[in-house]
Symmetry: C2
Subunit: 347 residues, 2 copies
């Protein structure tokens, strides 16, 4: 085990999808967001497993990602592209049979010029990031409606905070733009699913919850990350560890060096707030996280560890995110290319 090992439990992804599917009503379809390479876990493998589970609607960020998912799931499912129809996208959208979520009049014109391809529409209900503004939508609504959008959707800015007034404001804005028009509609990602049925419409599209992250607190953990110990050394009081001498031993200490670092996505900012686990016993990270190596205080362990757990039963993605001052989403999507990757419970 020269490299650190990342184990991805695809059955846990499927179980999380089933749980979120169960959280919305039986007439609501539950899709799956597999953008950013399936939140860093391999969009092809995740989508294939979820297609077996019954998912018929996948969502990606850009067209090139959609082409990869198409290869994995075959011809049946719909694959929606959040960035819509950008300049240069026509060929890949057509060849992979993707459904761009048109975001603007400019994208609508580009798409209709390309002729006869399916599409959906993304509306801005207040996040001001992607989607038609209400005024632009009012102008094009009838024309696009006649052409038959496969889906009309929007995205919530504050769904992770159930009490935030933005949720109700966006719900009202979305309804104002779509009520009575008869379109198939979607508003909720993971956070929106948990906000309750009025946010579900015809289709929900969980992302982070599938991968074990907040705000889906009941999610099953999906990833386990273990790094081999390269060596363990003894330090005397006053000796320092790592770049910039940022950690100093106050007493005799034992320090283990593990083969993983920020180049593997273990964000440098986590520094001293992070912990790793030796057979369930917490050990503090000491000194700076470096590119390929992390140093850990193992003074209190009875035996020298051969492997340390970074993510797994004792530390979830969101626990590590908190140490790094970020969110679980970023921990997942940063997981690097150097790991030995093991997939369990696959299709």
């Amino acid at each position: 085990m020269g490299a650190a090992r990342l184990t991805v439990d695809l059955e846990a992804v499927a179980a999380n999808w089933r749980a979120l599917d169960g959280a919305s009503g039986s007439v609501v379809e539950t899709g799956a967001v597999v953008k950013a390479d399936g939140y860093g876990l391999d969009a092809g493998r995740v989508a294939k497993r979820l297609a077996r589970e019954g998912v018929r609607s996948f969502f990606v960020a850009v067209a090139s990602e959609g082409a990869k998912v198409r290869r994995a799931v075959g011809e049946g499912p719909e694959i929606f592209v959040f960035s819509g129809h950008m300049a240069g996208d026509t060929k890949v959208l057509r060849e992979a049979g993707l459904v761009p979520l048109l975001n603007s009049a400019e994208q609508a014109a580009r798409h209709l010029d390309a002729g006869g391809m399916p599409f959906g529409v993304q509306l801005d209900s207040g996040m001001n990031r992607l989607g038609f503004e209400p005024a632009d939508w009012a102008v094009l609504r009838d024309r696009l409606g006649t052409a038959g959008p496969r889906l009309v959707m929007s995205h919530l800015a504050c769904a992770d905070e159930p009490d935030h007034p933005m949720n109700a404001a966006q719900l009202a804005a979305f309804r104002g733009m779509t009520d009575g028009l008869g379109f198939r509609r979607s508003l909720a990602a993971t956070g929106g699913v948990l906000l309750g049925p009025e946010y579900h419409f015809d289709l929900t599209r969980p992302g982070v919850g599938l991968y074990g992250g907040l705000p889906f607190e009941a999610a099953r953990p999906v990833v386990r990350l273990e790094a081999p110990v390269i060596q363990v050394r003894s330090l005397g009081p006053g000796e320092t560890v790592g770049y910039g001498n940022t950690w100093e031993a106050e007493a005799e200490a034992r320090i283990a060096t593990i083969a993983v670092g920020y180049a593997d996505g273990l964000i440098r900012a986590m520094g001293l707030a992070a912990r790793v686990f030796a057979a369930g016993v917490a050990c503090k990270v000491v000194g700076r996280v470096s590119m390929d190596l992390i140093t850990v205080d193992v003074t209190h362990l009875e035996r020298e560890p051969e492997v340390l757990e970074i993510l797994g039963p004792h530390q979830k993605v969101d626990d590590l995110a908190e140490a790094a001052g970020t969110i679980g989403y970023e921990i997942l999507t940063s997981l690097g290319a150097r790991y030995e990757r093991v997939y369990e419970g696959g299709a």
Copy 2:
């Protein structure tokens, strides 16, 4: 241009190597560190270009990386592995003809048991991260010396701070462990090269400086990163942007959304401190960096931009690192897999 584009100038890498080679004396060999997949830029392409430049000694973090570099550069050059000879490494070390830098008595025993393979030695001169402690080295020095190490090296903890007393302390410790023994020696990475000739010994091994990063201030920039604009929208005073409503327009504003986010390695922490450039004009990032999207204030631009520059002539890797509260190294190694990658000046 549906995806963001990362352009890597391999001729600039070569020019940076030549400059650092010139900074050490003509009898000193200059190697190259290509760990972490060549600091995120593709170890194979970087090593191949540098081999053409004359580099005969490459350095990687773990054995699996060395195997990739071997395929790129062929049989000639030496490839050293910083993590040494870990359990499970023997086969790949042998097959790829790699030179592990042994870090401990345990690794030395494992290596000698494997029989007849080349090796180097890493010594700990005070960083307490990798390498033999002085006492362990004293015990094994004669035995390993007889077996003929290809290189005896150590690593500086504070070389980016030329005035730090740790530099002289580590130099003295390294000399104390190696003077008079006749081994081929190396102590300096980029920072050490710039500390001056007493740190150069027989071989220097620049890393980050090759890729355009500090502490090599005269480095040529190596990467250019440009993201396409998906759409531009108008906001009125009081409207908010992005997750958590963290940014609010004080007056009429124009906001561009670009197709790049933290899943592409644009660290979420950079948030409001970051800027991007439209034909040389700085534009502030507004709202939270999200997984696949960043929102930018383009109110002051005369024309709507089609593309925004994130790294390039107007913003170096270390400028962006400062906005993210980290170092250029982490910006480089975090650059994601979703970019359209273009290589210029290759072998």
